[in-house]
């Protein structure tokens, strides 16, 4: 008995020996991973792992559902972290798929870092190119233009982003304050007048959120310039047009007025939440208006009080200008050009963009679906949603403008060098420490330096 017991015990020598074998195997596994995988019989290692980096919208429930339907593919979801993403990209080992926004796509497409997906789209049963709305064209790049050429991804959802949401409580008792109906025409000057009246009468701390507290200010300027038929960059993307463009100066002057009047959520009048979403759902509603798209309604939908007191308004236009209402975010997914599991990555992409998650998202009103066929799923049960849909249908025909984001601007966060320069110089300009002319010149110089650097590499 005792002999048998002794046999089952680990002696110090055998423990160390087995431990060394274990450590050695682990080390060899990590050093020779791919080789080992090839050497081991296929039956044991037949699952392909696809790495997805997103902000948590690719939920565990979706992953479980996908893996149950595709037992040979496993999803390894990584929470988006700019530093981690930067490191992965810099090292040339990006995730297989990642969530992104339209403004960031051209920089990768230009550098051949994205996988062209046309052949996959052509074979797909879930996603049909003819069913895609124009917003997905932001994920196309032909070497010179955004919106043409191969498809490198598509939007997961989007919205005409120049529309405005207002907290109606801030209108009560404001003399002469009028808001447009869902299909009415109104101008940027009307918006300024309305904001000024609200500010004067109600003194909200934050009257209007423009471009996500300016972090997307370059996109906002591009959209406002598009309404004037102008662009922020020339067709070769070699520089930025600010001081040499009367239209750009006019657009920035218009936006600057809000900062000077402390109506915005900029660095000179910061909001602790960083954007207007929480301010709209807060019990008292701390933000009066926000210039976001249809998707913002999805952010409010879970809060009955917020939906009751909020209303979506159409996008303003310039006096004498044409109506355009492009998306400035167009959030979607791309697949890395360096993926070793292209087919499996596409399977994940296809599921998320055309399968159950796409239908699920459309039903939540969290943005306009990428496909026309999902439109009938948009929520339309209460007056708030019905109004949103009315505004949306009116805006859709003018939402097909594709803004030409500069592929020479390299940056992996949402904020580009242009927006960073705007935020950097705005406080001094508002305080009068630098003139408006210097403010524009400084933004232009910083932006051009970043563009030139990106153009060469």
């Amino acid at each position: 008995m005792s002999g048998a017991l002794e046999d089952t015990r680990f002696s110090r020598r055998s423990f160390l020996g087995r431990g060394a074998v274990g450590v050695g195997a682990a080390a060899a596994g990590s050093l020779f991973g791919p080789e080992l995988a090839r050497a081991v019989p296929r039956r044991r290692l037949s699952t392909t792992a696809v790495t997805v980096m997103d902000n948590g919208e690719f939920t565990d429930a979706y992953i479980k559902d996908f893996e149950s339907k595709n037992p040979n593919i496993s999803i390894n979801r990584i929470q988006f972290d700019p530093a981690k993403f930067q490191a992965l990209m810099a090292a040339g080992t990006p995730p297989d798929l990642w969530r992104t926004q339209a403004a960031l796509v051209p920089q990768w497409a230009k550098r051949g870092q994205l996988l062209p997906l046309d052949k996959y789209f052509a074979q797909s049963d879930l996603i049909h190119v003819g069913d895609l709305l124009p917003a997905s064209n932001y994920y196309r790049w032909d070497g010179k233009h955004i919106g043409k050429g191969p498809r490198y991804g598509m939007v997961k959802d989007w919205s005409p982003d120049e529309t405005v949401f207002i907290n109606l409580d801030y209108l009560k008792g404001v003399k002469g304050a009028e808001i447009p109906g869902p299909t009415d025409k109104w101008t940027y000057d009307d918006l300024w007048t309305l904001a000024s009246k609200i500010k004067k009468a109600k003194k909200p701390h934050w009257t209007l959120d423009v471009a996500n507290a300016y972090t997307w200010i370059d996109r906002q300027i591009m959209a406002m310039l598009a309404a004037k038929g102008k662009t922020l960059y020339p067709s070769d993307f070699s520089h930025i047009n600010i001081t040499n463009s009367p239209e750009a100066i006019k657009v920035i002057s218009y936006l600057f007025k809000y900062a000077q009047a402390k109506m915005d959520l900029g660095p000179e009048n910061p909001n602790p939440d960083g954007w207007s979403g929480p301010g709209f759902v807060a019990p008292k509603g701390t933000v009066a208006m926000t210039q976001y798209g249809y998707w913002f309604g999805g952010d409010l939908i879970g809060n009955a009080a917020a939906t009751k007191r909020s209303r979506m308004l159409p996008a303003p236009i310039w006096d004498g200008g044409k109506k355009v209402d492009p998306t400035i975010t167009a959030t979607g997914f791309v697949i890395s050009g360096q993926t070793k599991n292209a087919d499996a990555a596409w399977a994940v992409f296809e599921y998320y963009m055309g399968g159950f998650p796409a239908r699920d998202r459309a039903g939540q009103g969290w943005g306009v679906p990428a496909q026309r066929s999902l439109f009938d799923r948009l929520p339309s049960t209460n007056p708030f949603q019905k109004n949103n849909n009315k505004v949306l249908l009116h805006e859709l025909p003018v939402s097909n403008v594709i803004l030409q984001f500069n592929p020479n601007l390299v940056g992996l966060g949402d904020t580009t060098a242009v927006a960073a320069a705007y935020l950097k110089y705005l406080p001094d300009a508002v305080k009068g420490k630098q003139s408006f002319k210097s403010f524009l010149k400084n933004i232009q110089n910083d932006s051009n330096r970043a563009i030139q650097q990106g153009a060469n590499g």
């Binding site: 700019p82 530093a83 930067q86 990209m89 810099a90 090292a91 040339g92 920089q107 990768w108 230009k110 550098r111 051949g112 870092q113 070497g143 010179k144 701390h205 996500n212 507290a213 300016y214 972090t215 959520l265 660095p267 000179e268 009048n269 910061p270 909001n271 602790p272 939440d273 960083g274 954007w275 601007l409 390299v410 940056g411 992996l412 966060g413 949402d414 904020t415 580009t416 060098a417 927006a419 960073a420 935020l423 950097k424 705005l426 406080p427 001094d428 910083d446 970043a450 650097q453 990106g454 060469n456 590499g457």
Partner: protein
């Protein structure tokens, strides 16, 4: 005779071989023991430092590790471009401003922090009741994660209804001080001093406990009061600890970036967040050059330009220490 001589020579030759073998084993053991640290230093310290220097001489932007061809035009990958980034940084007022901001904050935070730490240590060393409780309370801010601390401070210093403004209002001051935006430097300084007070207090307290009680007794017999005892015994004997705290304070301030970022009024843009000029420290400047504008070379050049400045300051602190740090000999004055 010949056999005896052979035997002797065998003995003679065997001994050094044993010694050599022992020494070799000792050497191997030494390298075996230090190799984890050495490998860690090489791969996680030395190589990144070298890589950082090489990046500062290149046009690397985080995406162009390899070359690529677009429309028949070939773009080279990251390559050597000389010292242009250094020249640009030297002429960039925002780089110098960030250094100035870092220096100003260090000049206030380090001395103020030390005063607070010594004061707390003296308080706890004066025979206060529930010493363990107070020690824990003062040390607590140090163990709270910086993110939690920052959000707590944002709530405390909120312009509308923050605790700090309420206290100031109760004392007759303004209830609506915009700390986040109007006084970002003061806010950051308070935050750093508060956050570091617990650890510094413990270190000073340990230093005070190690001072022999006989010295105080002798001073009392000689008629010295508390202030005189502190000035002539406690403080001089604490100078090695003071030196340590000055050096670690320098390290903390020169490597800080999370605190100004987290305490900025608007954190929406993550690493691209606008950080007020009063707290736009050197690390924020370099980090944003890399993360926001993708100018890795410029960010790395800024970091490398900071290195000689930091070395100079460290050298001054160390050499000045000969004048004021008590080392247990007559050097003490």
């Amino acid at each position: 005779m010949a056999t005896e001589a052979n035997a002797r020579s065998a003995v003679v030759t065997r001994k050094p071989r044993r010694r050599a073998s022992f020494r070799r084993r000792e050497t191997l053991a030494f390298y075996g023991f230090v190799s984890p640290w050495l490998l860690g230093f090489i791969f996680l310290g030395l190589l990144p430092i070298i890589a950082g220097f090489l990046i500062s001489l290149s046009n690397f932007n985080g995406l162009n590790l390899r070359g690529y061809t677009v429309g028949g035009v070939h773009y080279r990958g990251a390559h050597y471009i000389g010292f242009g980034k250094y020249v640009r940084a030297i002429h960039d007022p925002y780089f110098w401003h960030s250094l100035e901001t870092t220096g100003k904050i260090a000049l206030i935070v380090i001395p103020l922090g030390i005063v607070v730490q010594i004061a707390l240590a003296l308080l706890l060393n004066s025979g206060v009741k529930m010493l363990g409780f107070w020690r824990t309370m003062f040390f607590l801010p140090f163990v709270i994660p910086v993110v939690a601390k920052a959000f707590m401070w944002k709530a405390i210093t909120d312009q509308d209804g923050g605790l700090l403004n309420r206290i100031i209002g109760f004392a007759g001051g303004s209830r609506h001080i915009d700390w986040l935006n109007g006084h970002p430097t003061s806010l950051l300084i308070m935050f750093l001093v508060w956050g570091g007070a617990g650890l510094g207090m413990l270190i000073f307290l340990a230093g005070m406990k190690s001072i022999p009680e006989e010295l105080y007794e002798a001073a009392r017999i000689d008629g010295a009061g508390r202030i005189r005892s502190f000035r002539s015994i406690t403080l001089p004997l604490l100078t090695p600890v003071l030196m340590f705290q000055v050096v670690t304070g320098m390290i903390v301030v020169s490597s800080m970036f999370q605190e100004p970022l987290l305490l900025s009024p608007n954190m929406q843009a993550g690493l691209g967040t606008y950080v007020p000029t009063g707290t736009h420290v050197f690390n924020i400047e370099a980090l944003q050059q890399i993360m926001v504008t993708g100018d890795w070379g410029y960010g790395a050049a800024e970091i490398w330009l900071f290195v000689p400045i930091l070395l100079l300051i460290t050298a001054i602190i160390f050499f000045s220490g000969k004048l004021w740090v008590y080392s247990g000999s007559e050097q003490y004055k």
